[in-house]
Symmetry: C2
Subunit: 310 residues, 2 copies
Protein backbone atom coordinates (compact mmCIF):
# COMPACT_ATOMS: atom_id res chain seq x y z
CA UNK A 1 0.00 0.00 0.00
CA UNK A 2 2.89 2.38 0.74
CA UNK A 3 4.22 1.71 -2.77
CA UNK A 4 0.85 2.63 -4.17
CA UNK A 5 0.76 5.83 -2.18
CA UNK A 6 4.24 6.77 -3.33
CA UNK A 7 3.42 6.14 -6.97
CA UNK A 8 0.23 8.04 -6.64
CA UNK A 9 1.67 10.99 -4.84
CA UNK A 10 4.51 11.18 -7.30
CA UNK A 11 2.22 11.24 -10.32
CA UNK A 12 -1.13 12.81 -9.52
CA UNK A 13 -0.59 16.51 -9.01
CA UNK A 14 -4.16 17.63 -9.41
CA UNK A 15 -7.33 15.55 -9.52
CA UNK A 16 -10.39 17.42 -10.75
CA UNK A 17 -13.70 15.83 -9.79
CA UNK A 18 -16.59 17.00 -11.97
CA UNK A 19 -19.77 16.34 -9.99
CA UNK A 20 -18.96 16.22 -6.28
CA UNK A 21 -21.79 14.07 -4.97
CA UNK A 22 -21.80 10.77 -3.15
CA UNK A 23 -19.17 9.16 -5.38
CA UNK A 24 -16.95 12.14 -6.10
CA UNK A 25 -17.12 13.40 -2.54
CA UNK A 26 -16.40 10.01 -1.04
CA UNK A 27 -13.41 9.58 -3.31
CA UNK A 28 -12.00 12.91 -2.16
CA UNK A 29 -12.49 11.98 1.48
CA UNK A 30 -10.98 8.54 0.99
CA UNK A 31 -7.93 9.86 -0.84
CA UNK A 32 -7.26 12.45 1.85
CA UNK A 33 -7.62 9.86 4.59
CA UNK A 34 -5.14 7.64 2.72
CA UNK A 35 -2.52 10.36 2.48
CA UNK A 36 -2.98 11.46 -1.11
CA UNK A 37 -0.89 14.59 -1.53
CA UNK A 38 -2.04 16.04 -4.84
CA UNK A 39 -4.61 18.80 -5.01
CA UNK A 40 -8.27 17.80 -5.22
CA UNK A 41 -10.44 20.29 -7.09
CA UNK A 42 -14.21 20.11 -7.38
CA UNK A 43 -16.20 21.34 -10.37
CA UNK A 44 -19.92 21.68 -10.87
CA UNK A 45 -22.81 24.11 -11.05
CA UNK A 46 -23.87 24.47 -7.44
CA UNK A 47 -21.45 26.63 -5.47
CA UNK A 48 -23.29 25.95 -2.21
CA UNK A 49 -22.84 22.20 -2.48
CA UNK A 50 -19.26 22.55 -3.63
CA UNK A 51 -18.56 24.72 -0.58
CA UNK A 52 -20.05 21.94 1.53
CA UNK A 53 -17.55 19.59 -0.08
CA UNK A 54 -14.72 21.94 0.86
CA UNK A 55 -16.06 22.26 4.39
CA UNK A 56 -16.13 18.51 4.94
CA UNK A 57 -12.66 18.06 3.47
CA UNK A 58 -13.65 16.18 0.30
CA UNK A 59 -12.04 18.77 -1.98
CA UNK A 60 -9.48 21.51 -1.46
CA UNK A 61 -11.20 24.12 -3.60
CA UNK A 62 -13.78 24.38 -6.36
CA UNK A 63 -14.66 26.21 -9.50
CA UNK A 64 -18.15 26.48 -11.00
CA UNK A 65 -16.45 27.15 -14.33
CA UNK A 66 -15.67 23.58 -15.32
CA UNK A 67 -13.35 24.66 -18.14
CA UNK A 68 -11.26 26.69 -15.75
CA UNK A 69 -11.31 23.92 -13.17
CA UNK A 70 -9.77 21.34 -15.49
CA UNK A 71 -7.23 23.65 -17.10
CA UNK A 72 -4.30 22.37 -15.08
CA UNK A 73 -5.58 18.92 -14.10
CA UNK A 74 -3.41 15.82 -14.21
CA UNK A 75 -6.57 13.68 -14.04
CA UNK A 76 -10.29 14.43 -14.45
CA UNK A 77 -12.97 12.19 -12.95
CA UNK A 78 -16.41 12.70 -14.47
CA UNK A 79 -19.03 11.76 -11.88
CA UNK A 80 -22.14 13.08 -13.64
CA UNK A 81 -25.21 11.28 -15.08
CA UNK A 82 -24.50 9.18 -18.20
CA UNK A 83 -26.63 11.46 -20.35
CA UNK A 84 -24.42 14.50 -19.71
CA UNK A 85 -21.03 12.81 -20.20
CA UNK A 86 -20.64 13.75 -23.85
CA UNK A 87 -21.61 17.39 -23.49
CA UNK A 88 -19.35 17.69 -20.44
CA UNK A 89 -16.40 16.29 -22.35
CA UNK A 90 -17.11 18.57 -25.30
CA UNK A 91 -17.19 21.48 -22.88
CA UNK A 92 -13.82 20.79 -21.28
CA UNK A 93 -12.02 19.60 -24.41
CA UNK A 94 -10.58 23.03 -25.23
CA UNK A 95 -9.00 23.69 -21.84
CA UNK A 96 -8.00 20.20 -20.77
CA UNK A 97 -4.20 19.75 -20.75
CA UNK A 98 -2.97 17.33 -23.42
CA UNK A 99 -1.54 14.91 -20.91
CA UNK A 100 -4.48 14.87 -18.46
CA UNK A 101 -6.19 11.53 -17.95
CA UNK A 102 -9.97 11.36 -18.40
CA UNK A 103 -11.85 8.80 -16.36
CA UNK A 104 -15.41 8.49 -15.12
CA UNK A 105 -17.74 6.84 -12.62
CA UNK A 106 -20.66 6.03 -14.91
CA UNK A 107 -22.68 2.81 -14.79
CA UNK A 108 -22.50 2.03 -18.53
CA UNK A 109 -19.12 1.75 -20.17
CA UNK A 110 -19.95 1.31 -23.87
CA UNK A 111 -21.88 4.54 -23.77
CA UNK A 112 -19.06 6.43 -22.06
CA UNK A 113 -16.56 4.98 -24.51
CA UNK A 114 -18.69 6.14 -27.44
CA UNK A 115 -19.02 9.60 -25.92
CA UNK A 116 -15.27 9.82 -25.28
CA UNK A 117 -14.53 8.61 -28.80
CA UNK A 118 -16.80 11.25 -30.27
CA UNK A 119 -14.99 14.03 -28.39
CA UNK A 120 -11.43 12.79 -27.97
CA UNK A 121 -10.94 10.66 -31.09
CA UNK A 122 -7.35 11.84 -31.42
CA UNK A 123 -6.29 11.25 -27.83
CA UNK A 124 -8.09 8.13 -26.66
CA UNK A 125 -4.86 6.87 -25.10
CA UNK A 126 -5.67 8.98 -22.07
CA UNK A 127 -9.27 7.85 -21.67
CA UNK A 128 -9.82 5.19 -18.96
CA UNK A 129 -13.50 4.32 -18.41
CA UNK A 130 -14.28 3.24 -14.85
CA UNK A 131 -17.21 2.27 -12.64
CA UNK A 132 -17.13 2.15 -8.87
CA UNK A 133 -19.77 -0.40 -7.81
CA UNK A 134 -20.68 1.39 -4.63
CA UNK A 135 -23.61 3.37 -3.41
CA UNK A 136 -25.59 4.23 -0.35
CA UNK A 137 -29.17 4.96 0.61
CA UNK A 138 -28.45 8.63 0.08
CA UNK A 139 -26.97 10.80 -2.61
CA UNK A 140 -25.18 14.11 -2.72
CA UNK A 141 -22.14 15.45 -0.89
CA UNK A 142 -23.93 15.18 2.45
CA UNK A 143 -23.94 11.40 2.04
CA UNK A 144 -20.26 11.14 1.12
CA UNK A 145 -18.04 9.16 3.48
CA UNK A 146 -14.44 8.11 3.35
CA UNK A 147 -15.18 4.37 3.80
CA UNK A 148 -17.57 4.11 0.85
CA UNK A 149 -15.12 2.20 -1.34
CA UNK A 150 -13.64 -0.04 1.34
CA UNK A 151 -14.07 -3.64 0.20
CA UNK A 152 -16.10 -2.50 -2.77
CA UNK A 153 -15.20 -3.17 -6.38
CA UNK A 154 -14.23 -0.72 -9.08
CA UNK A 155 -14.26 -1.96 -12.65
CA UNK A 156 -12.03 -0.33 -15.25
CA UNK A 157 -12.79 -1.06 -18.89
CA UNK A 158 -9.75 0.22 -20.77
CA UNK A 159 -10.14 1.02 -24.46
CA UNK A 160 -7.87 -0.59 -27.03
CA UNK A 161 -6.21 2.81 -27.20
CA UNK A 162 -5.88 3.42 -23.43
CA UNK A 163 -2.26 3.78 -22.36
CA UNK A 164 -1.13 1.20 -19.81
CA UNK A 165 0.43 3.89 -17.68
CA UNK A 166 -2.81 5.82 -17.52
CA UNK A 167 -4.77 2.71 -16.62
CA UNK A 168 -2.29 2.10 -13.80
CA UNK A 169 -2.69 5.64 -12.53
CA UNK A 170 -6.49 5.34 -12.38
CA UNK A 171 -6.16 1.92 -10.81
CA UNK A 172 -3.81 3.26 -8.14
CA UNK A 173 -6.16 6.11 -7.34
CA UNK A 174 -9.07 3.77 -6.67
CA UNK A 175 -6.86 1.35 -4.74
CA UNK A 176 -5.79 4.23 -2.57
CA UNK A 177 -9.48 4.87 -1.84
CA UNK A 178 -9.77 1.32 -0.51
CA UNK A 179 -11.42 -0.37 -3.50
CA UNK A 180 -10.56 -3.64 -5.22
CA UNK A 181 -9.93 -2.77 -8.84
CA UNK A 182 -10.77 -5.14 -11.70
CA UNK A 183 -10.23 -4.72 -15.42
CA UNK A 184 -12.95 -6.06 -17.72
CA UNK A 185 -13.80 -5.64 -21.40
CA UNK A 186 -16.54 -3.06 -21.58
CA UNK A 187 -19.08 -5.37 -23.25
CA UNK A 188 -18.65 -7.82 -20.39
CA UNK A 189 -19.09 -5.05 -17.86
CA UNK A 190 -22.24 -3.77 -19.50
CA UNK A 191 -23.78 -7.24 -19.83
CA UNK A 192 -23.00 -8.18 -16.22
CA UNK A 193 -24.23 -4.90 -14.74
CA UNK A 194 -27.33 -4.92 -16.97
CA UNK A 195 -28.26 -8.07 -15.05
CA UNK A 196 -26.97 -7.53 -11.52
CA UNK A 197 -27.74 -3.83 -11.14
CA UNK A 198 -29.70 -2.20 -13.96
CA UNK A 199 -32.44 -4.79 -14.43
CA UNK A 200 -33.28 -5.02 -10.69
CA UNK A 201 -33.70 -1.25 -10.59
CA UNK A 202 -36.04 -1.26 -13.60
CA UNK A 203 -37.98 -4.25 -12.30
CA UNK A 204 -38.45 -2.51 -8.99
CA UNK A 205 -39.58 0.78 -10.57
CA UNK A 206 -41.99 -1.11 -12.85
CA UNK A 207 -43.46 -3.12 -9.98
CA UNK A 208 -44.23 -0.14 -7.79
CA UNK A 209 -45.62 1.81 -10.72
CA UNK A 210 -47.86 -1.13 -11.65
CA UNK A 211 -49.08 -1.43 -8.06
CA UNK A 212 -49.94 2.26 -7.99
CA UNK A 213 -52.23 1.69 -10.98
CA UNK A 214 -54.14 -1.24 -9.45
CA UNK A 215 -57.74 -0.76 -8.35
CA UNK A 216 -56.80 -2.32 -4.97
CA UNK A 217 -53.67 -0.21 -4.57
CA UNK A 218 -54.74 1.00 -1.13
CA UNK A 219 -54.87 -2.57 0.16
CA UNK A 220 -51.62 -3.46 -1.58
CA UNK A 221 -49.64 -0.63 -0.04
CA UNK A 222 -51.38 -0.79 3.32
CA UNK A 223 -50.45 -4.42 3.90
CA UNK A 224 -47.02 -4.40 2.28
CA UNK A 225 -44.26 -5.39 4.70
CA UNK A 226 -40.59 -6.36 4.85
CA UNK A 227 -40.35 -8.31 1.59
CA UNK A 228 -41.85 -5.41 -0.34
CA UNK A 229 -39.69 -2.90 1.51
CA UNK A 230 -36.39 -4.49 0.51
CA UNK A 231 -37.50 -5.49 -2.97
CA UNK A 232 -38.56 -1.94 -3.77
CA UNK A 233 -35.96 0.08 -1.88
CA UNK A 234 -34.26 0.82 -5.20
CA UNK A 235 -37.54 2.06 -6.70
CA UNK A 236 -36.91 5.22 -4.69
CA UNK A 237 -33.73 5.90 -6.67
CA UNK A 238 -33.12 8.96 -8.81
CA UNK A 239 -35.28 8.81 -11.99
CA UNK A 240 -32.91 10.91 -14.11
CA UNK A 241 -29.80 8.93 -13.30
CA UNK A 242 -31.58 5.64 -13.98
CA UNK A 243 -33.29 6.89 -17.13
CA UNK A 244 -29.83 7.66 -18.48
CA UNK A 245 -28.56 4.22 -17.48
CA UNK A 246 -31.54 2.56 -19.17
CA UNK A 247 -31.02 4.42 -22.43
CA UNK A 248 -27.24 4.06 -22.36
CA UNK A 249 -27.33 0.29 -21.82
CA UNK A 250 -30.57 -0.52 -23.58
CA UNK A 251 -29.25 -3.36 -25.73
CA UNK A 252 -27.83 -5.37 -22.85
CA UNK A 253 -30.86 -4.55 -20.70
CA UNK A 254 -33.32 -5.74 -23.36
CA UNK A 255 -31.34 -8.98 -23.73
CA UNK A 256 -31.50 -9.87 -20.07
CA UNK A 257 -35.05 -8.53 -19.74
CA UNK A 258 -36.15 -10.91 -22.49
CA UNK A 259 -34.58 -13.84 -20.67
CA UNK A 260 -36.36 -12.75 -17.51
CA UNK A 261 -39.75 -12.47 -19.20
CA UNK A 262 -39.18 -16.00 -20.57
CA UNK A 263 -38.50 -17.18 -17.01
CA UNK A 264 -41.70 -15.56 -15.79
CA UNK A 265 -43.63 -17.24 -18.61
CA UNK A 266 -42.26 -20.63 -17.49
CA UNK A 267 -43.22 -19.92 -13.90
CA UNK A 268 -46.72 -18.91 -15.04
CA UNK A 269 -47.01 -22.21 -16.90
CA UNK A 270 -45.95 -24.13 -13.80
CA UNK A 271 -48.49 -22.26 -11.71
CA UNK A 272 -51.35 -22.97 -14.10
CA UNK A 273 -50.38 -26.62 -14.37
CA UNK A 274 -50.04 -26.88 -10.60
CA UNK A 275 -46.48 -28.13 -11.09
CA UNK A 276 -45.39 -27.93 -7.46
CA UNK A 277 -42.30 -30.00 -8.05
CA UNK A 278 -41.06 -27.73 -10.84
CA UNK A 279 -41.78 -24.63 -8.77
CA UNK A 280 -39.99 -26.01 -5.74
CA UNK A 281 -36.99 -26.94 -7.88
CA UNK A 282 -36.78 -23.44 -9.29
CA UNK A 283 -37.09 -21.83 -5.84
CA UNK A 284 -34.47 -24.24 -4.48
CA UNK A 285 -32.01 -23.46 -7.27
CA UNK A 286 -32.54 -19.75 -6.65
CA UNK A 287 -32.03 -20.07 -2.91
CA UNK A 288 -28.85 -22.05 -3.48
CA UNK A 289 -27.50 -19.45 -5.92
CA UNK A 290 -28.45 -16.60 -3.57
CA UNK A 291 -26.74 -18.28 -0.62
CA UNK A 292 -23.64 -18.99 -2.68
CA UNK A 293 -23.54 -15.37 -3.73
CA UNK A 294 -23.81 -14.16 -0.16
CA UNK A 295 -20.92 -16.38 0.85
CA UNK A 296 -18.86 -15.45 -2.17
CA UNK A 297 -19.33 -11.72 -2.30
CA UNK A 298 -20.25 -10.74 1.18
CA UNK A 299 -17.94 -13.29 2.80
CA UNK A 300 -20.27 -13.96 5.64
CA UNK A 301 -22.66 -16.58 6.92
CA UNK A 302 -26.11 -16.24 5.40
CA UNK A 303 -28.22 -15.38 8.38
CA UNK A 304 -30.82 -14.06 6.00
CA UNK A 305 -31.19 -17.36 4.20
CA UNK A 306 -34.22 -18.72 5.94
CA UNK A 307 -37.91 -18.39 5.39
CA UNK A 308 -39.88 -15.21 5.51
CA UNK A 309 -43.38 -15.61 6.71
CA UNK A 310 -45.68 -12.87 5.63
CA UNK B 1 -54.98 -2.64 26.90
CA UNK B 2 -55.82 -3.87 30.41
CA UNK B 3 -59.38 -4.49 29.23
CA UNK B 4 -58.07 -6.61 26.41
CA UNK B 5 -55.91 -8.57 28.81
CA UNK B 6 -58.81 -9.16 31.11
CA UNK B 7 -61.05 -10.36 28.30
CA UNK B 8 -58.35 -12.59 27.02
CA UNK B 9 -57.43 -14.06 30.34
CA UNK B 10 -61.05 -14.67 31.13
CA UNK B 11 -61.72 -16.57 27.93
CA UNK B 12 -58.63 -18.36 26.62
CA UNK B 13 -57.88 -21.28 28.93
CA UNK B 14 -55.63 -23.19 26.62
CA UNK B 15 -54.04 -22.08 23.35
CA UNK B 16 -52.53 -24.89 21.33
CA UNK B 17 -49.99 -23.78 18.74
CA UNK B 18 -49.42 -26.36 16.01
CA UNK B 19 -46.03 -25.61 14.48
CA UNK B 20 -43.91 -23.69 16.99
CA UNK B 21 -41.52 -21.85 14.69
CA UNK B 22 -40.88 -18.17 14.18
CA UNK B 23 -44.55 -17.17 14.19
CA UNK B 24 -45.94 -19.62 16.73
CA UNK B 25 -42.98 -19.20 19.06
CA UNK B 26 -43.06 -15.43 18.86
CA UNK B 27 -46.77 -15.42 19.63
CA UNK B 28 -46.18 -17.52 22.75
CA UNK B 29 -43.40 -15.22 23.92
CA UNK B 30 -45.46 -12.11 23.21
CA UNK B 31 -48.52 -13.43 25.03
CA UNK B 32 -46.46 -14.37 28.08
CA UNK B 33 -44.79 -10.98 28.13
CA UNK B 34 -48.23 -9.34 27.95
CA UNK B 35 -49.56 -11.26 30.92
CA UNK B 36 -51.64 -13.91 29.16
CA UNK B 37 -52.68 -16.37 31.83
CA UNK B 38 -54.02 -19.33 29.88
CA UNK B 39 -51.89 -22.36 29.16
CA UNK B 40 -49.84 -22.35 25.96
CA UNK B 41 -49.25 -25.80 24.51
CA UNK B 42 -47.00 -26.58 21.55
CA UNK B 43 -47.61 -29.39 19.09
CA UNK B 44 -45.46 -30.70 16.27
CA UNK B 45 -43.20 -33.52 15.18
CA UNK B 46 -39.81 -32.47 16.47
CA UNK B 47 -39.53 -32.97 20.24
CA UNK B 48 -36.10 -31.33 20.32
CA UNK B 49 -37.36 -28.08 18.87
CA UNK B 50 -40.48 -28.15 20.99
CA UNK B 51 -38.30 -28.55 24.08
CA UNK B 52 -36.35 -25.51 22.89
CA UNK B 53 -39.65 -23.64 22.80
CA UNK B 54 -40.36 -24.69 26.39
CA UNK B 55 -36.86 -23.69 27.43
CA UNK B 56 -37.17 -20.19 26.00
CA UNK B 57 -40.60 -19.71 27.53
CA UNK B 58 -42.63 -19.65 24.30
CA UNK B 59 -44.82 -22.59 25.40
CA UNK B 60 -45.57 -24.22 28.75
CA UNK B 61 -45.44 -27.80 27.51
CA UNK B 62 -45.70 -29.78 24.31
CA UNK B 63 -47.01 -32.95 22.79
CA UNK B 64 -45.74 -34.58 19.60
CA UNK B 65 -49.11 -36.25 19.33
CA UNK B 66 -51.10 -33.41 17.80
CA UNK B 67 -54.44 -35.11 18.46
CA UNK B 68 -53.65 -35.40 22.13
CA UNK B 69 -52.33 -31.85 22.24
CA UNK B 70 -55.57 -30.30 20.97
CA UNK B 71 -57.91 -32.50 22.98
CA UNK B 72 -58.63 -29.86 25.60
CA UNK B 73 -57.81 -26.69 23.68
CA UNK B 74 -59.95 -23.57 23.80
CA UNK B 75 -58.18 -22.28 20.66
CA UNK B 76 -55.89 -23.89 18.11
CA UNK B 77 -53.50 -21.84 15.97
CA UNK B 78 -52.23 -23.68 12.91
CA UNK B 79 -48.81 -22.26 11.98
CA UNK B 80 -47.77 -24.84 9.39
CA UNK B 81 -47.16 -24.56 5.60
CA UNK B 82 -50.30 -23.95 3.53
CA UNK B 83 -49.98 -27.34 1.86
CA UNK B 84 -50.36 -29.24 5.13
CA UNK B 85 -53.30 -27.27 6.57
CA UNK B 86 -56.01 -29.62 5.32
CA UNK B 87 -54.35 -32.85 6.43
CA UNK B 88 -53.57 -31.28 9.81
CA UNK B 89 -57.19 -30.27 10.31
CA UNK B 90 -58.39 -33.71 9.23
CA UNK B 91 -55.99 -35.22 11.75
CA UNK B 92 -57.18 -33.19 14.73
CA UNK B 93 -60.89 -33.16 13.83
CA UNK B 94 -61.72 -36.20 15.96
CA UNK B 95 -60.16 -34.97 19.21
CA UNK B 96 -60.79 -31.23 18.93
CA UNK B 97 -63.35 -30.03 21.50
CA UNK B 98 -66.58 -28.84 19.89
CA UNK B 99 -66.21 -25.32 21.18
CA UNK B 100 -62.53 -24.83 20.36
CA UNK B 101 -61.70 -22.04 17.91
CA UNK B 102 -59.58 -22.89 14.86
CA UNK B 103 -57.40 -20.15 13.46
CA UNK B 104 -54.21 -20.10 11.41
CA UNK B 105 -51.23 -18.02 10.33
CA UNK B 106 -51.11 -18.92 6.66
CA UNK B 107 -50.36 -16.49 3.84
CA UNK B 108 -53.33 -17.42 1.63
CA UNK B 109 -56.82 -17.20 3.07
CA UNK B 110 -59.04 -18.61 0.30
CA UNK B 111 -57.01 -21.79 0.39
CA UNK B 112 -57.25 -22.09 4.18
CA UNK B 113 -60.97 -21.39 4.03
CA UNK B 114 -61.45 -24.13 1.44
CA UNK B 115 -59.42 -26.56 3.57
CA UNK B 116 -61.39 -25.68 6.69
CA UNK B 117 -64.68 -26.01 4.83
CA UNK B 118 -63.68 -29.45 3.58
CA UNK B 119 -62.94 -30.66 7.10
CA UNK B 120 -65.24 -28.64 9.36
CA UNK B 121 -68.26 -28.06 7.11
CA UNK B 122 -70.62 -28.49 10.06
CA UNK B 123 -68.83 -26.17 12.46
CA UNK B 124 -67.45 -23.32 10.40
CA UNK B 125 -68.71 -20.86 12.99
CA UNK B 126 -65.56 -21.53 14.99
CA UNK B 127 -63.12 -21.10 12.08
CA UNK B 128 -61.36 -17.72 11.95
CA UNK B 129 -58.71 -17.49 9.20
CA UNK B 130 -55.84 -15.13 10.05
CA UNK B 131 -52.53 -13.94 8.68
CA UNK B 132 -49.86 -12.14 10.70
CA UNK B 133 -47.88 -10.01 8.23
CA UNK B 134 -44.62 -10.34 10.05
CA UNK B 135 -41.41 -12.17 9.47
CA UNK B 136 -37.72 -11.98 10.06
CA UNK B 137 -34.54 -12.94 8.29
CA UNK B 138 -34.61 -16.23 10.16
CA UNK B 139 -37.07 -19.01 10.76
CA UNK B 140 -37.65 -21.59 13.46
CA UNK B 141 -38.06 -21.30 17.20
CA UNK B 142 -34.51 -19.99 17.57
CA UNK B 143 -35.57 -16.88 15.67
CA UNK B 144 -38.71 -16.27 17.74
CA UNK B 145 -38.89 -13.04 19.70
CA UNK B 146 -41.56 -11.42 21.76
CA UNK B 147 -41.52 -8.11 19.82
CA UNK B 148 -42.12 -9.69 16.41
CA UNK B 149 -45.71 -8.45 16.16
CA UNK B 150 -45.22 -5.01 17.68
CA UNK B 151 -46.52 -2.45 15.18
CA UNK B 152 -47.10 -5.19 12.62
CA UNK B 153 -50.44 -6.01 11.06
CA UNK B 154 -52.52 -9.13 11.41
CA UNK B 155 -55.35 -9.62 8.94
CA UNK B 156 -58.35 -11.72 9.89
CA UNK B 157 -60.64 -12.85 7.07
CA UNK B 158 -63.75 -14.16 8.85
CA UNK B 159 -65.97 -16.57 6.96
CA UNK B 160 -69.66 -15.82 6.53
CA UNK B 161 -70.17 -18.52 9.14
CA UNK B 162 -67.54 -17.33 11.63
CA UNK B 163 -69.08 -16.40 14.98
CA UNK B 164 -68.51 -12.81 16.01
CA UNK B 165 -67.44 -13.88 19.46
CA UNK B 166 -64.80 -16.18 18.06
CA UNK B 167 -63.51 -13.47 15.75
CA UNK B 168 -63.21 -11.17 18.77
CA UNK B 169 -61.31 -13.79 20.74
CA UNK B 170 -58.76 -14.26 17.93
CA UNK B 171 -58.54 -10.51 17.50
CA UNK B 172 -57.86 -10.02 21.20
CA UNK B 173 -55.15 -12.65 21.19
CA UNK B 174 -53.25 -10.92 18.40
CA UNK B 175 -53.80 -7.49 19.96
CA UNK B 176 -52.33 -8.83 23.16
CA UNK B 177 -49.24 -9.84 21.16
CA UNK B 178 -48.83 -6.21 20.08
CA UNK B 179 -50.25 -6.39 16.57
CA UNK B 180 -52.75 -4.13 14.82
CA UNK B 181 -55.61 -6.35 13.74
CA UNK B 182 -57.61 -5.71 10.56
CA UNK B 183 -60.56 -7.59 9.15
CA UNK B 184 -60.72 -8.01 5.38
CA UNK B 185 -62.74 -10.18 2.99
CA UNK B 186 -60.52 -13.08 2.05
CA UNK B 187 -60.53 -12.34 -1.69
CA UNK B 188 -59.26 -8.84 -0.94
CA UNK B 189 -56.58 -10.23 1.31
CA UNK B 190 -55.41 -12.73 -1.27
CA UNK B 191 -55.37 -10.16 -4.09
CA UNK B 192 -53.46 -7.58 -2.02
CA UNK B 193 -50.92 -10.05 -0.68
CA UNK B 194 -50.47 -11.66 -4.11
CA UNK B 195 -49.13 -8.26 -5.15
CA UNK B 196 -47.31 -6.91 -2.10
CA UNK B 197 -45.77 -10.13 -0.84
CA UNK B 198 -46.17 -13.21 -3.02
CA UNK B 199 -45.25 -11.73 -6.40
CA UNK B 200 -42.04 -10.05 -5.12
CA UNK B 201 -40.90 -13.38 -3.70
CA UNK B 202 -41.54 -15.19 -6.98
CA UNK B 203 -39.93 -12.41 -9.03
CA UNK B 204 -36.88 -12.57 -6.83
CA UNK B 205 -36.60 -16.37 -7.04
CA UNK B 206 -37.04 -16.22 -10.83
CA UNK B 207 -34.43 -13.51 -11.26
CA UNK B 208 -31.71 -15.30 -9.32
CA UNK B 209 -32.51 -18.59 -11.04
CA UNK B 210 -32.32 -16.90 -14.44
CA UNK B 211 -28.97 -15.30 -13.55
CA UNK B 212 -27.59 -18.68 -12.49
CA UNK B 213 -28.36 -19.99 -16.00
CA UNK B 214 -26.60 -17.16 -17.85
CA UNK B 215 -23.33 -17.82 -19.64
CA UNK B 216 -21.82 -14.79 -17.88
CA UNK B 217 -23.17 -15.79 -14.47
CA UNK B 218 -19.71 -15.55 -12.88
CA UNK B 219 -19.43 -11.90 -13.86
CA UNK B 220 -23.02 -11.21 -12.82
CA UNK B 221 -22.64 -12.60 -9.32
CA UNK B 222 -19.09 -11.33 -8.87
CA UNK B 223 -20.03 -7.72 -9.49
CA UNK B 224 -23.47 -7.73 -7.87
CA UNK B 225 -23.75 -5.23 -5.02
CA UNK B 226 -26.27 -3.57 -2.72
CA UNK B 227 -29.18 -3.25 -5.13
CA UNK B 228 -29.00 -6.93 -5.97
CA UNK B 229 -28.55 -7.86 -2.31
CA UNK B 230 -31.79 -6.23 -1.17
CA UNK B 231 -33.78 -7.13 -4.27
CA UNK B 232 -32.90 -10.80 -3.89
CA UNK B 233 -32.83 -11.21 -0.13
CA UNK B 234 -36.20 -12.93 -0.31
CA UNK B 235 -34.87 -15.36 -2.94
CA UNK B 236 -33.17 -17.10 0.00
CA UNK B 237 -36.56 -17.91 1.54
CA UNK B 238 -37.88 -21.40 2.19
CA UNK B 239 -38.79 -23.10 -1.13
CA UNK B 240 -41.45 -25.38 0.37
CA UNK B 241 -43.33 -22.65 2.18
CA UNK B 242 -43.33 -20.45 -0.92
CA UNK B 243 -44.21 -23.29 -3.29
CA UNK B 244 -47.29 -23.82 -1.15
CA UNK B 245 -48.13 -20.12 -1.23
CA UNK B 246 -47.73 -20.05 -5.03
CA UNK B 247 -50.05 -22.98 -5.56
CA UNK B 248 -52.56 -21.86 -2.95
CA UNK B 249 -52.89 -18.35 -4.39
CA UNK B 250 -52.21 -19.11 -8.03
CA UNK B 251 -55.21 -17.29 -9.49
CA UNK B 252 -54.48 -13.96 -7.80
CA UNK B 253 -50.77 -14.37 -8.49
CA UNK B 254 -51.32 -15.02 -12.20
CA UNK B 255 -53.56 -11.95 -12.41
CA UNK B 256 -50.99 -9.59 -10.98
CA UNK B 257 -48.12 -11.34 -12.76
CA UNK B 258 -49.89 -10.72 -16.07
CA UNK B 259 -50.21 -7.03 -15.26
CA UNK B 260 -46.54 -6.95 -14.38
CA UNK B 261 -45.46 -8.63 -17.62
CA UNK B 262 -47.56 -6.04 -19.48
CA UNK B 263 -45.68 -3.31 -17.63
CA UNK B 264 -42.36 -4.85 -18.56
CA UNK B 265 -43.47 -5.02 -22.20
CA UNK B 266 -44.27 -1.29 -22.11
CA UNK B 267 -40.90 -0.53 -20.58
CA UNK B 268 -39.19 -2.64 -23.26
CA UNK B 269 -41.02 -0.64 -25.93
CA UNK B 270 -39.91 2.62 -24.36
CA UNK B 271 -36.33 1.39 -24.25
CA UNK B 272 -36.30 0.36 -27.90
CA UNK B 273 -37.90 3.65 -28.96
CA UNK B 274 -35.46 5.60 -26.81
CA UNK B 275 -38.42 7.20 -25.05
CA UNK B 276 -36.47 8.84 -22.24
CA UNK B 277 -39.39 11.02 -21.24
CA UNK B 278 -41.74 8.07 -20.82
CA UNK B 279 -39.13 6.13 -18.87
CA UNK B 280 -38.41 9.07 -16.58
CA UNK B 281 -42.15 9.55 -15.97
CA UNK B 282 -42.56 5.91 -15.02
CA UNK B 283 -39.53 5.98 -12.70
CA UNK B 284 -40.76 9.22 -11.14
CA UNK B 285 -44.25 7.82 -10.50
CA UNK B 286 -42.67 4.74 -8.92
CA UNK B 287 -40.38 6.78 -6.68
CA UNK B 288 -43.30 8.90 -5.57
CA UNK B 289 -45.40 5.84 -4.75
CA UNK B 290 -42.49 4.20 -2.93
CA UNK B 291 -41.84 7.33 -0.87
CA UNK B 292 -45.51 7.69 -0.02
CA UNK B 293 -45.57 4.09 1.07
CA UNK B 294 -42.57 4.53 3.32
CA UNK B 295 -44.20 7.53 4.96
CA UNK B 296 -47.56 5.81 5.27
CA UNK B 297 -46.56 2.40 6.51
CA UNK B 298 -43.23 2.90 8.12
CA UNK B 299 -44.08 6.29 9.52
CA UNK B 300 -40.63 7.68 9.02
CA UNK B 301 -38.72 10.05 6.80
CA UNK B 302 -37.52 8.35 3.65
CA UNK B 303 -33.78 8.49 4.07
CA UNK B 304 -33.50 5.71 1.53
CA UNK B 305 -35.23 7.69 -1.16
CA UNK B 306 -32.27 9.02 -3.05
CA UNK B 307 -30.16 7.72 -5.83
CA UNK B 308 -28.12 4.59 -5.74
CA UNK B 309 -25.01 4.73 -7.82
CA UNK B 310 -23.70 1.37 -8.79
Amino acid sequence: MSTVKTDQNAVEKRLVIVGVGLIGGSLGLALRAAGFQGEIVGAGRDAGRLQQAVDCGAIDRFDTDVCAAVSNASMVLLAVPMGTMRSMMALIASTLPEDAIITDAGSVKSSFAADATAVFADSLHRVVPGHPIAGSENSGIEAAREELFQQRRVILTPLAESSDDDVQRVKHLWQLSGAQVHCLPLEKHDAALAASSHLPHFLSFALVDMFAAQTNKDDIFKFAAGGFRDFTRIAASDPVMWRDVALANREAVVNVLDDYVDSLASFREQLLKGDGEGIQQMFTRAREARRNWAELVEGRAVDEADAHTE
